[in-house]
């Protein structure tokens, strides 16, 4: 069974440029999460989807960040414009049915560097 797929693995951009990250969850997983991991810290949730609906986006900085999961499968996270402080690892995770305590499976992440 394929795991959570993310691309790209690395991205270097100039500040004020846009950037997008893509995630394909494990087949059949209805719940998808985007986390932000700063250096030396644990991941923090940006947004959670149940199928195509964003059910928790309270931590997503909506002035510059946006996300979509149009068909309830893969998802894209976008930053426009990027700032120096956005340099971090962006992790995608999925869980099967979103039931209480469901294990979240993580992708390898995208390391973003903003110059």
């Amino acid at each position: 069974e394929a795991g959570v797929v993310q691309s790209p693995r690395y991205k270097i951009i100039e500040k004020k440029q846009p950037v997008a990250f893509w995630c394909n969850p494990i087949s059949g997983h209805n719940t998808l999460y985007w986390y932000l991991q700063n250096l030396g810290q644990g991941p923090e949730l940006l947004i959670r989807y149940e199928n195509e609906e964003a059910v928790d986006d309270s931590q997503l900085p909506k002035d510059r960040f946006s996300a979509e999961r149009l068909k309830g499968v893969d998802s894209t996270l976008k930053i426009q414009p990027a700032e120096l402080g956005d340099s971090a690892v962006y992790l995608c995770a999925s869980s099967q049915q979103g039931a209480p305590g469901d294990t979240q499976y993580f992708g390898p992440g995208t390391r973003l560097t903003v110059l």
Binding site: Y33, Q41, P43, G101, P108
Partner: protein, 113 residues
């Protein structure tokens, strides 16, 4: 708000020895889930072990076991017969329902040959 505290930023142990990583958490909820994740240099978070708060029995997965003390809000991870491949960052995490995972700041574990 829930918080997770890992008080050991770094630990090291000789190969084949046993090591225990500490984790405490704070919540007013009575039903929740606790996890230990491993993050090697490749960055991929890998589930190590999972514990349901309503179960008194401590979870075990091969060489990995937990000591879950609900009243003390403590959830430590014990790694027995440590191997070089256990070298990684270890994160303790907490979840209510199917909501977000709340992570601690991690413990960097190094297994010394």
């Amino acid at each position: 708000a829930q918080t997770v505290t890992q008080s050991q930023p770094e630990m090291s142990v000789q190969e084949a020895e046993t090591v225990t990583l500490s984790c405490t958490y704070d919540t007013s909820e009575s039903n929740y889930y606790l996890f230990w994740y491993k993050q090697p240099p490749s960055r991929q978070m890998i589930l190590v072990i999972r514990q349901e708060a309503y179960k008194q029995q401590n979870a075990t997965e091969n060489r990995f076991s937990v000591n879950f003390q609900k009243a003390a809000k403590s959830f430590s991870l014990k790694i027995s017969d440590s191997q070089l491949g256990d070298t990684a960052m270890y994160f303790c995490a907490f979840m209510i329902g199917n909501e977000k995972l709340t992570f601690g700041t991690g413990t960097r574990l190094t297994i010394i040959p």
